[in-house]
């Protein structure tokens, strides 16, 4: 009997976690998949779903609205990720967090943009950028640039949203890269100096390659995070002006909960999951290749 318990114990320990995850994540994923083959408007066809096979997928991949949103999302994700990474790297290289005066206060102030709720960040910046009482516009008009509606102006909205995303995400990159840099083996750096490398060469040929594993982790996490952005943009622009900042998550939300097209919503969810998954796999594979 004791033997049996010994054998079963590992599974029993994992079971509660598995059950919860299955109910909340696995079952919905499967349901999503099957629902994506139906057309189901929740309000109009209360009782019935119509099987449309791949119809939703065709509609999605041919719909200008959906494709545009996808493009906007990728632009936002790529730009935000790239800028915050470069900034974080630059900061990490220039200012080693651990040796700064007032270290605790400094780190605390970095953590706040990171840890705040996306919605709160959205409101903080929406207020700052407000054309009437926002402080940013105030200084802009003082400097002679005139009053601008950053979030309402079609040519500025996306850039503004990207800027806020960068603000929120740079601390993470900065902190992680600082930790990474601190963990670099001193011998490698010394050796390269002896070989006559200047700071720039040392950066490219020694530091970055050694940092690669961490960089990949940072990029994956942050990509998933920015790709799935919802709350922040929901608050800042609600997708406007004129759908110019309507990222995929917002569009999905609108299709599912404003237009009640649940079948199409499920289809978009599947597409979204696939894209995220593919990117993640690509990243992981690139790490594997480096290692071998």
């Amino acid at each position: 009997m004791k033997q049996l318990i010994r054998k079963v114990t590992p599974f029993l320990l994992v079971l509660p976690a598995l059950i919860v995850v299955c109910i909340v994540m696995v079952y919905p994923l499967i349901y999503n998949f099957s629902l994506s083959f139906f057309q189901w408007n929740y309000v109009k066809h209360w009782e019935g779903m119509t099987f449309v096979g791949l119809g939703n997928y065709f509609e999605a991949l041919l719909s200008p609205e959906i494709l545009y949103s996808l493009r906007i999302t990728l632009v936002y994700a790529a730009a935000t990720l790239f800028i915050q990474f470069i900034l974080g790297l630059g900061l990490a290289l220039l200012f080693d967090v651990e040796t700064l005066p007032g270290k605790y206060f400094f780190r605390a102030s970095l953590l706040i943009p990171m840890m705040s709720s996306a919605v709160v960040i959205g409101f903080v910046w929406k207020a700052m950028l407000n054309p009437d009482f926002g402080i940013i516009n105030y200084y802009f008009s003082q400097l002679g640039f005139g009053n601008r509606s950053f979030l309402g102006n079609p040519s500025l909205a996306l850039y503004t949203v990207i800027a806020v995303g960068v603000w929120a995400g740079t601390p993470f990159c900065y902190l992680m890269l600082t930790a990474g840099l601190r963990g670099l083996p001193q011998e490698a750096l010394e050796a390269s100096k002896l070989d006559g490398a200047n700071t720039w060469q040392q950066l490219i040929y020694v530091k970055l390659p050694l940092l690669r594993p961490i960089i990949v982790v940072i990029l994956i996490f942050q990509f998933i995070f920015v790709f799935g952005v919802f709350g922040m943009i929901y608050v800042l622009t609600a997708g406007g002006p004129a759908s110019l900042t309507k990222v995929f998550s917002l569009l999905l939300y609108e299709i599912a909960f404003d237009r009640f097209e649940l079948g199409l919503g499920a289809t978009l969810s599947v597409i979204y999951a696939l894209i995220a998954f593919i990117f993640a796999i690509l990243f992981v594979v690139s790490v594997r290749e480096e290692k071998s």
């Binding site: 919905p28 706040i112 709720s117 409101f123 603000w167 999951a273």
Partner: protein, 282 residues
Amino acid sequence: MFSSKDKGFKRDLPGLITVTIGAAIIVVFALFPVIWFTLGSFKTEVQLFSIANTFVFEPVLENYVYAFSTRNMFSYLANSTIVTIFAVIFQLAVSIPAAYSLARFKSKSFELLAYMMLATRLLPSFVILIPLYLLYLKLGLLNTRFGLIFAYTAFGIPFAVWMLRGFIRTLPREIEDSAMIDGCSTLGIIVRIVVPLIKPGIVATALLLAIGAWGEFIFALILTVSPAARTLPAAIAGFQEAYGVKWGAIMAAGVVALLPVVLLVSVAQRSLLRGITAGAFK
């Protein structure tokens, strides 16, 4: 590059000044929006518009009074607190045994399980928004605190298991092995040996889980509707739909939502940073 440790303070004054100025600029960038927002929460509508007096003004509490008395802030605050605390408790209760199992028992199927759990982390959470909504509709879990807690528990498990597994792996097996020889049950080992040893790791993980649950928005928005179960983030977003944009109430509510985060960040900094960086250094 710039570090105040490289040369003696006295000899490297230009370096030190550069570092301090740089640090100050960074801090301003990071904190100013939040500080300005907080100041705004103490202003009346009129004061808010007089930008020349951004920093020098007579603070008022009317926004907070308004939010708490007419906008159900107490309920939202209570909901957020309850949901966060219970979600973290359940997450840990479920993830610690699972993490132990995945850390100690080697088998092909378990490795696969671990990777599958990790895989769910790679998906943006709202891909399951629609089915979860429908499921909850059927089960009558919409607009319930328990429903939210249950969902958050699931969201946090992959992260928690991954983190805790990493921490457990750093423990030497001898202690557990000798306990097992002494006849201790596996559960006993977990509770009496492993948990105390990885307590810092558990705390770091719990803090990150708490911050995640506290600030979660999408599912709070979809799965809850009324002050019976709605949490702060969703509620604050609602402030801008009803009566136009009530900035006073939004700012007050926003500060209330920010407060725990600021407190946590000041008090538990070390722990948080350990948690964040541990995630990367697999």
